[in-house]
Symmetry: C2
């Protein structure tokens, strides 16, 4: 079987990954969902023709979108993940002993169900009594919450389809209000090579609301260009203030506390984009 | 014209880049050389079916393989680049005012000639009176030199074809001898995702010779996995000792002196590979 998954990064670039088995394929009420077996990355989850997670490299994104804000916060108790139905961000969040409640707000129940079936290592924490799954629009959950969360993770797909509104200033205003007075938000903000407009707009919108806004980066081979940005908005704690960082007390595969600091030391061209130069 | 350049990263992954014009194609005595025009990356230079440089992102590799060692050295006067016939590393090296001589040792004259024709912004420094081009095997040049260079840059293609010997311990021994008593070498050591064996072997071989050996990283979208490592061997100066770093006195597009430090703060999985865990 000479089968390849092809992902269009732009009109002018395509990544092809060899597929040895089509494990699952459906059209949910929200998106196209597929699970493929690949020799390069193990099992991969694809939504609307973008790889979301793979067995091989899911830990990078999951660790970096959660541990950077969580070790910045002195005592995070309650966290919300918007999107992220694959469960990997929640799995990392509950590793922090101070966490009492972790809400997963995923609009598409099928993503959670399919992930439970084919990605047991990612969904392992979804049965944890601290974890509550809400099958609803993340925007609704945010606007129904006030002063409630220590951390909100916007683990959205790319800004196409239902995720477009998760990249809007109005949404970030809701996130700001849903956070406690010393809360932190973090959003995945795409490739600094291929999606500079998305990254810049998210940075501008978040920094218009939060006194401390910082962009950090991670290398994720299954994502466009292999390089990814995250934008953190924080009401009180500076993630680059190493003195105040909580000490890491469990093992990780990508994140570490030197890297935590280093991930904020950006290439000049990214600084220039963020500063509008 | 629906033409695509396809690069096999592994047996199981292919990157396809749209091509609007085949500008040049030849078989040199050493390798297959092609120049394509692409909407995504501008003009690209391809050797033996691996993208070497593109108009769009060549500055990343060129800056990172040169400025990290050069700002580590207090007074670099004489540098040697092995490979690198596209001229971009030399262009960066002569930006340092202390540099008196920069040798480019490229085995394949055709790479230089074709680069001069199609990549004027990369080859701009090759006419500089400080620059001397040697069309010979880099291994010969290294073993004919003793105590001569402040910096040796091993700007090799991937370890296939003529470049295999540039990844050997014997070669690094020659590099060590060709360096002055406080000299520094740096080699490109491939993707930490796709070429872990190459990276690990280079690190082991270099650290068996040099008292200070450190790996650093950069995000290069046209290279496999988008993420790349460089391994530096230094006889005296520690590149992570920020106190001693020379101050940057010209503009760059990727490199900056915070990033210089941050580039050495590695993800845990890379640390584990290097430590043989």
């Amino acid at each position: 079987m000479n089968l390849w998954y092809r992902e269009k990064h732009t009109e002018n670039q395509i990544l092809s990954v060899k597929v040895t088995d089509v494990i699952h394929k459906e059209k949910t009420p929200f998106q196209e969902l597929a699970v493929y077996e690949t020799p390069e990355y193990g099992t991969i989850l694809v939504l609307d023709n973008y790889i979301q997670v793979s067995d091989q490299d899911e830990y990078i994104y999951a660790e970096m979108i959660t541990h950077v804000p969580l070790f910045t916060h002195p005592n995070p108790k309650k966290a919300l993940v918007i999107g992220g139905g694959d469960g990997s961000a929640i799995r990392e969040i509950v590793k922090h002993p101070s966490i009492e409640e972790a809400h997963l707000c995923e609009i598409d129940e099928r993503v959670v169900e399919v992930s439970k079936k084919y990605f047991p290592q990612m969904t392992v924490a979804l049965e944890d009594p601290k974890v509550k799954i809400l099958y609803k629009d993340g925007i609704k959950q945010v606007f129904q919450s006030k002063d409630e969360y220590d951390l909100i993770v916007v683990d959205s797909p790319d800004p196409v389809g239902p995720a477009v509104n998760l990249f809007s200033k109005g949404f970030y205003e809701g996130v700001y209000e849903a956070l406690k007075e010393d809360g932190i938000m973090v959003a995945q903000t795409e490739s600094p090579y291929f999606n500079q407009d998305v990254m810049k707009k998210a940075y501008d919108d978040i920094s218009a609301l939060f006194p401390i806004t910082k962009v950090y980066m991670a290398a994720i081979p299954t994502y466009q260009s292999g390089f990814w940005t995250f934008t953190m908005g924080s009401k009180k704690y500076d993630p680059t203030n190493v003195e105040n960082m909580r000490k890491q007390d469990f093992e990780t595969s990508y994140y570490n506390q030197n890297l935590h600091y280093g991930a904020f030391l950006l290439p000049t061209f990214i600084q220039n984009i963020l500063e509008g130069k």
